[in-house]
């Protein structure tokens, strides 16, 4: 079943075409890579899928519904979760509070609870949320320091926390923006393991944006390669990496700049 369908997506910034007529489908349960060199339009594409950027043209379908005009929070409600490229976290909060905030959609705290935060009913609801949050922290191996301020976490753990926040929305589709960037070998392998575990245990679908070819090969079932906002190849990682055009776009032309 097609979980996500991108049809004729376009984005213009002034005169610049950041994404041109992009088509691709993602099946349920797939890990799909969106790869390309810096500036190829990967993050722009991701921003249009999660709704933080509006499209100049095209349509996006999620679970068969047209979500093209919906705002990001509505898309989150439908089951799309975004994990940001840089360490975007709630800096004023502890690790636990970050995940609690992520549980917004799963909480049934209403205006009544806002006016009676100390009432037993509200307390109970919050306790339940806390338990849920701790489970998620367990999954990303952060349950040992729920009270730590999120900003004080090491880089790799901040990424894990970002993932836990996304998991808290209980999504069907994850959008991961360069999840491995800036990580050391140990953190990279843990993150890859976590992503695989997420898909295998929970049956979710994952779209990964990555410029690091090596990581993509190990992670994705299928991938599309972007160059200057145009899709130049799509297929299994081995198909994609063997493609002439991908090699040229990705690695630069083989001609020696010095001798030419």
């Amino acid at each position: 079943m097609k979980l996500l369908q991108v049809q004729g997506m376009n984005k213009r910034f002034g005169g610049l075409k950041a994404v041109s007529d992009l088509h691709f489908d993602v099946d349920k349960g797939e890990i799909f890579g969106l790869i390309g060199p810096n500036g190829a339009g990967k993050s722009t594409t991701l921003n249009m899928i999660d709704g933080s950027l509006s499209m100049t043209g095209g349509k996006i379908f999620f679970k068969g519904h047209d979500i093209s005009g919906l705002s990001p929070y509505k898309r989150a409600g439908l089951g799309i979760a975004r994990v940001f490229q840089r360490d975007v976290l709630f800096d004023s909060f502890t690790v636990l509070e970050n995940v609690l905030t992520g549980l917004h959609l799963n909480s049934n705290l209403g205006i009544k609870d806002a006016l009676m935060p100390f009432s037993p009913g509200t307390r109970k609801k919050e306790q339940d949320l806390e338990n849920k949050a701790m489970e998620l922290l367990d999954f990303v191996r952060l349950s040992d320091r729920p009270g730590m301020m999120a900003v004080n976490l090491p880089h790799g753990d901040q990424r894990s926390l970002g993932l836990a926040i996304a998991m808290a929305t209980n999504p069907d589709l994850y959008l991961l923006d360069e999840p491995l960037t800036g990580m050391n070998a140990e953190e990279t392998s843990f993150m890859m393991e976590t992503i695989n575990k997420l898909r295998d245990n929970m049956g979710v679908t994952i779209v990964v944006v990555e410029h690091n070819m090596k990581a993509v090969i190990g992670l994705c079932d299928r991938a599309a390669v972007l160059d200057y906002g145009v899709k130049i190849a799509e297929g299994t990682p081995s198909e994609v990496t063997a493609d002439e055009r991908v090699i040229e776009a990705y690695l630069g032309t083989e001609q020696d700049v010095v001798s030419s």
Binding site: P72, G77, V88, F90, S92, T101, H104, L105, T169
Partner: protein, 330 residues
């Protein structure tokens, strides 16, 4: 419940008792009127800080006070409703207008939001200043009645035309408002505001309707600003909207000073700051025209040396004390 929490609850109760007990000892209407203005301004400054939870500085709180003041006065004078209805309707009118303009307003951030709110408050003032048939124009409204006497079982009839009694009334209302604001501060609502302030894109991506919560924030803050206006109208008995008067630009700017000196990141900050600066203004009467200079100097000293304000002093002193102790021991 830990002892620290118990202690602070006890402290707050003590302060409340003190603020009730103080009025008769001061004894004269002048001090009662000072105290009334202090509690009204506490409410206003606290409403400013509600918006500051989103990291936005509203320079327009006084504009919404004006709405509350005029609406509250007019429904009592023209429609013959009670003080209580007037007070609530004033707050509601202010909140309603805030909600109506909230969506486009809350899209702006930083300097843009501050300038927008500053201009809005001037527009509201000028409308009040010129809309003669309704607001009395530059002559303003006069003869706004005091609240009707209240009969309480066991105490008897309380007449609010006395300054002292009006102070009790205002204090009670403001305390209730502060209690509600405190509760909101501790609730999931304020956690969402902080989340939006920290990273609105992440907040959106976990499904938080960012604009809804921002507009709600603005609406709540302006509701309390409107209530403050109603309290002011029925205390003063007359309203006018001249440029240098109560609803002028300087009033709105002073609130920022109260908040910063008191401590912008603590709930108690605006309360402490308003009391401290307004009392300072009273005790510095001999300085006469130079009093604002004193306040300005104090504000600059706080910004540069104690950015967390008076409410941040205990922590600051503790760290200084620790340094000193460790210095002595070493």
């Amino acid at each position: 419940m830990d002892s620290k929490r118990l202690l602070s609850i006890f402290g707050v109760l003590l302060l409340i008792v003190f603020s009730f007990a103080i009025a008769p000892f001061l004894g004269n209407p002048y001090w009662s009127s000072v105290l009334i203005m202090i509690v009204i301004n506490i409410l206003l400054t606290s409403s400013l800080r509600t918006i500051f939870i989103l990291d936005e500085v509203s320079l327009g709180q006084v504009g919404f006070t004006l709405i509350g003041a005029y609406v509250s006065a007019l429904v009592v004078m023209e429609l013959g409703l009670s003080f209580w209805a007037g007070l609530i309707l004033g707050g509601v009118a202010s909140a309603f207008i805030a909600m109506a303009v909230g969506y486009p307003f809350m899209k702006l951030k930083g300097i843009y939001f501050s300038i927008l709110t500053l201009m809005t408050t001037e527009i509201l003032r000028l409308i009040a200043y010129s809309w003669k048939p309704v607001t009395g124009g530059q002559y303003g409204l006069t003869g706004i009645p005091s609240p009707n006497p209240l009969t309480l079982p066991g105490i008897g009839e309380i007449n609010f035309s006395s300054m002292n009694n009006y102070y009790y009334l205002a204090l009670t209302i403001v305390l209730v408002c502060l209690f509600i604001m405190y509760i909101i501060e501790k609730s999931h609502l304020s956690r969402k505001w902080i989340a939006i302030k920290d990273a609105d894109n992440l907040a959106l991506s976990v499904g938080i309707n960012v604009m809804k919560y921002k507009v709600l924030n603005f609406t709540i803050a302006c509701f309390f600003a409107g209530l403050a206006g109603g309290l002011f109208a029925h205390y003063q008995g007359l309203l006018s909207a001249g440029a240098t008067g109560r609803f002028g630009v300087m009033t709105t700017l002073n609130l920022v000073i109260y908040m910063v000196i008191g401590g912008k990141s603590k709930f108690s900050g605006p309360i402490i700051g308003t009391i401290a600066i307004m009392l300072l203004m009273e005790f510095a009467r001999p300085l006469d025209n130079l009093r604002p200079m004193l306040v300005g100097a104090v504000a600059i000293i706080f910004v540069l040396l104690l950015p967390e304000g008076i409410a941040g002093l205990p922590v600051r002193l503790k760290s200084i004390g620790k340094k000193y102790v460790s210095g002595v021991l070493r």
